[in-house]
Symmetry: D2
Subunit: 448 residues, 4 copies
């Protein structure tokens, strides 16, 4: 996953981009970059690590001159962790400086790659994003806008993207609208960002989402709007379940509100009758757990403390330190858990190993019973649209049923919300969501 930002027409474009990337840091911690265009020249600064690690002085932002900027935080390591793959990607085409940022994954790379290579195209990165610009450069349209439309119409899969072509900015979102992308206004300028929490930080006013299949071109302070493909929304439901920040508004609704409703539905669908307390796995499950508690007799409690200073821990002690990787992040509170029947609400189970360790820690802290309730159905299938799940073999629900999982986690009960329960919690009709990671029903044919 990734987070993207674009600032159009603001005297502090790079600084605002930097701040927006801070707000989107949860979407990617592997790398970060910003590119600007100052009317004559382009500027770029990127590196591995967090925003606060790569950008360490005011000077760095001041060197990114210009009123127009794009930025990116990188999560995925598809394509290897080569610095060349850190976005924005930079190209030169007919004296035009191009910088592009992209969130998502394309699924029809194979035929496009073959075609482009027949025409003598070289690739400098192993990133999907490079394809988009090559297609643009090979497109045959009369105008810039037409060439861009043509290029976008060739792509399948997930792409929320923002690109600079000198002082032009192009913004586009795939026709399924897998990933969020919104527009905001700040003074006379525009802000584009993966989530609205980025707008909030800089005091920009949310205007609307980019529509699935929509392309915008900004030039000379004016915006031209196009539809490059007929929209058939399939938003990624995992953005609501886990990935987006609770204070963001995506796909037309606040994440936090949807997640609270989901917690309530989970409590109604899979109650734990005689539990004493309900705790969350902080911070991602907090709202779901709170919603769960509002439809339960047991009360909400804080039973796990999360250490937010972890950063990159390189060491695992040589001696067998049981449950180390969970312990370094979480500590159970004995006074809360001791002798209690505890409901642990979590957003999802992917590998299951951290949850297994957490359960063991909660039991060692004295819990009498441990019941797990999960705010999403079992994750059984890979995502080809940008969510960085591990390989199918590592998805524990793919090869263990509920009974086996209870055994593995050593819990008194385990229940997931159903696909229907999840969809009922959503602010849009069920057909508007991609739930392929639960069901295996992909909206498109994969041909990477």
């Amino acid at each position: 996953m990734c987070g993207i930002v674009g600032i159009y027409n603001h005297s502090e474009a790079a600084t605002l981009t930097y701040l927006c990337l801070y707000a989107l840091q949860h979407r990617g911690q592997e790398g970060v970059g910003i590119a600007t265009f100052d009317g004559n020249r382009s500027h770029v600064k990127k590196g591995d690590g967090l925003v606060s690690e790569v950008f360490t002085s005011r000077d760095q932002l001041q060197q990114l001159a210009g009123r127009i900027a794009v930025g990116h935080v990188r999560y995925s390591t598809y394509g290897g962790s080569n610095l060349a793959n850190v976005q924005p990607l930079i190209f030169k085409y007919k004296d035009t400086h191009i910088a592009i940022v992209h969130n998502g994954n394309l699924i029809n790379l194979k035929p496009i790659k073959q075609e482009l290579e027949e025409q003598g195209t070289l690739f400098q990165t192993s990133s999907d994003t490079e394809f988009i610009i090559h297609l643009f450069a090979h497109a045959k349209g009369d105008s810039f806008d037409e060439k861009m439309r043509q290029a976008l119409s060739r792509l399948e899969g997930a792409f929320s993207l923002i690109a600079l072509f000198d002082d032009k900015m192009v913004i586009a979102r795939d026709r399924h609208g897998y990933r969020p992308l919104c527009i905001g206004r700040i003074k006379d300028g525009f802000v584009f960002a993966s989530e609205t929490c980025a707008l909030d930080l800089i005091g920009a006013i949310y205007e609307r989402d980019i529509q699935p299949g929509e392309m915008l071109v900004l030039e000379n302070d004016a915006m031209r709007e196009y539809t490059f493909a007929s929209p058939t929304p399939h938003h990624c439901i995992f953005e609501y379940v886990y990935f987006s920040r609770p204070d963001s508004r995506i796909f037309g609704e606040y994440v936090d509100k949807t997640r609270r409703k989901l917690g309530k539905n989970l409590a109604l669908e899979k109650p734990v009758p005689n539990a004493d307390i309900i705790i969350s796995v902080p911070d991602s499950s907090n709202t779901t757990a709170l919603g769960f508690s509002q439809r339960s007799t047991a009360r909400f409690e804080i039973g796990l403390i999360r250490n937010h200073y972890i950063g990159r821990t390189f060491i695992h002690p040589n001696q067998a330190m049981r449950d180390f990787s969970a312990k370094i992040k979480f500590n159970p509170i004995g006074g809360v858990l001791k002798d209690r029947s505890v409901v642990v609400v979590d957003d999802s189970i992917v590998r299951g190993t951290t949850l297994q360790q957490l359960v063991r820690m909660i039991r060692e802290a004295g819990a009498r019973e441990v019941h797990i309730r999960i705010g999403s159905p079992p994750v059984k299938f890979p995502c080809f649209f940008g969510m960085d799940f591990p390989s199918t073999e590592e998805l524990i629900a793919n090869h263990r049923n509920i009974t086996e999982l209870q055994e593995f986690l050593q819990v008194d009960s385990l229940a997931y919300i159903s696909v229907e329960g999840l969809l009922n919690s959503m602010p849009l009709p069920a057909s508007h969501f991609c739930t392929a990671c639960f069901t295996g029903d992909y909206c498109e044919k994969i041909n990477r």
Copy 2:
């Protein structure tokens, strides 16, 4: 403030120290260091920044050879941010390698300094900690233990300290017990740490606290116990209110439990009759707010989202970006706050500026009323015992009464818990706590 760690007799002493410092990172983010002794030589590594920034590879820990180690995380900048002041401080005395870590502040430096300088003593740091070792070197006792006792008995103020003298380890705590310090066991070895959360992380078993006025000497795998001063406990009540981690057990009780009780007492003492929801300023006030909600009719909600990726932000945009320093850390959730009468529970008010910004953000998110409830009395007086408050002039409660503060914060109501209410929430008698920052009654004469 600072956090300190000692590991005695463990094959992975440096690694365990490193992990414990991770768990204590909330006690200091300015610097970190570890020193070990391997039987022949001492090793030390220290630097400015977080544990994860200073220790970046396994090699660094492996070079810290030995079965005995001390570590430190540094918060305060008393003495300037010179690297020489980052602990452990290292000395050589008669072929003995000395390494010392210290949490607290001494208050009788002036007379000691004068006396030592008359005797020709040089100082290499501006840290309190250096005095302790000079006193030891000048003490006249027959034995090591006797010299150490003498040196400690000269000190006034707050000191929880751990020191290596080659393969001997000395642990001591001032007779008031201002700062916490506990003992744990891991296999055949000992762990000493500011808070029990450090023990939990490495799987050590909590044994007891070091007593006020107690000195321990470990040598040849045996422990000798001494009382160097008659104990008169005055624990820092702010450790319970704000500073320690909720999952730690200090001064004989879990912080989390005390903080929840404090929240309840606050609700009983200063209720908000017709409020709709209660929110905390995450994460430090979570438990207090939860306690508050358990004695209120209004329900607990998550109304502010905290961005945990902030790190060191160097930039404030040139344009007047209102409330920036609060916005970069917190984002209000419109769906929760809109049209509601909101109780905001916070642990304390120091300068008041962040809270002022937060209130404005909450109002802009649509809150109908904002009521502030504070889990400690007004902070009006400086701390000479290690808590890094700003200058007295910057303590807003020092020069504004409640009405003026309400005006400053622009809230519908503001109330603090009383000193009595706070002390009633504590697990020990009132006389066992230092509340000087609220009352101005210091237990000792200050002569820095």
Copy 3:
């Protein structure tokens, strides 16, 4: 200017490349990079600065796995000092990993660029080198070798290049042979390098130079040889005068030998009858000065000491410190210079500012007379073939005649060797050299 290296078929390819780059460091100090191919994957490491600054640990070389490697040291900043422009440049084409290093400058970029962009080509760098690979990718030949030949035949200007295409290595030199490039053998492997001093360092045996217009393809331990353009040698005479290391053998002769002959001819052509001593501007003029002294009555002396620790000096003191930039590099020896009539032999005058400062320093050290003798004719015209001269306006000989220069330098006499005298010192016929920087007669039409 730049230095390039290729190692084919050696178990320590990266390490040997690293060592060869050390030997070629005088050809470029701005950046350095090495790329390898290990049979499956390519590896690359590059950065700004000296070899010793970018490569700082054994690990870095070990990660560059493979028996085939190319390396580059970078001098020029044509194209900006963007890290993307540091070589080797890396591309992916039809699953082939390409890495290329290049010394020289192309002069027909304009028409090639236009043609490539019509075909939809994007550029990721502002380096000449990228063009070569794009031409290859667009070439229509049946075989790899044929496509490569076609691409090379399109290029005009100076190019000594080495490229990896997975486990194939291609080596080529432009038909004028502007820049040197030699072949050596080490065990069963091949070494290619800009100068033979690189071969000497690793103990490789010099075999021959790559011929002007020659292309070599190494694959499966065999070498295929081609002529892609009819050779018309125009070697850069400045390589002999100043640029190459004296211990290298280029264009068929040792640099040192040519430079000594040049010094002798200079003494015969432009003698200084009554001088006392002859000194060089160390180290580049040492051999020329020694040659000069062997045809003079005055004796060779060491009158200037060079400080070799300079590195990057960022500071010029605020106060007017006269002649600072020369002083930080050179110090005159009073005992040698005092009351003497001194001949200063230098290799060339470009801007003239350092020489002006040196003369002033020599006079202040007590020299009675100062006579300048220059081992090359006046540099009046720009180089389009890789030598990094400043702009024409900054070439002092371009707008000052000898009398004006004597005035500017404040010397008793100034004389340059004539173009004929220079050519007479060369080991090859006059027609085999490019002397355009002295004469303005370029061998090719410039169309950058």
Copy 4:
């Protein structure tokens, strides 16, 4: 060895110190530091590596505020390469900020250490330098000057030192005057430096040397001069032979002049009758070789090229690369050496390994005969006064006679200058020099 600098009363004290350290870089490449005092506060910046590596921006110098500064370049690793040992060492004594730099080694540390530790003194470094300040702090004099005199009179061994005590500067040199130390003037200020080449760089005017046994105190722009011990000069003759820069004037004479005379005497004493050419091992032997050639029939030639870009090379190739450590520094010139009878003039033989490799390289380049002439007698004994010779076992002349050495080096002849020949080349009487490394006759009793 080390180089030291002091600047008194100049608006750019730190910048001038930085420049002087550049000029003294040959005296130490392991570490560098500068300390200043600005009237209220002291400032210090130090680190491992070259001047250009530790000081990388103008800001760093600007932060070193004040009109008074001391600086140090560090060579030796006596005391370990701990950053705490990098000078200037910093202390605080009775509100006075002390910073000290020191070149030399003390030889009566044992009794002083014992005495100081009895008085309760702690040591923070393993450096000789710290002793000096402790002695000062324990001295019983009435005035500052008297205390300083007392402290200095306790020291035996080599010490050229400069110290700041707030805005006072103290300069002193041991009574033997082992290491050089000079005074210069710049505007209204003073410059103190190990060698005059530092004065030349910043345009300061050389005034005189600090006398053996002399102490200067500068305060309020006035200088007070003292003799703290009766002078008995024993200058280190190795400073002339090898260590100092040829353009410096030390012990009353230019190094270059002495070294040339030494070369002449070597030629007269140990001629090589039928040699063809004389070459030096650049750069340290250049002047000696030139002197040698002026008393020989054979002519001076440049037969070895030195690579000045070496820096820290961390790698030695795995395969047996014969003579690697010499090859990476030197390359022989075939055209000069081939078929010739070559005299190689070197300044000294310490371990002999590099020379052995050089001889092999010269032979492989085709030399017919190789004759070695050394500008100093055999180095057989350790230096306790600051010269960093290896252990006695590693001094090859300690356990091999001339015949064995010829065998080891594989040369046609080998001859050293005699002790008398060396002393005859000196500008001062023989009794004024320490020649203990050749003779074993130390001027003082060693009691470290």
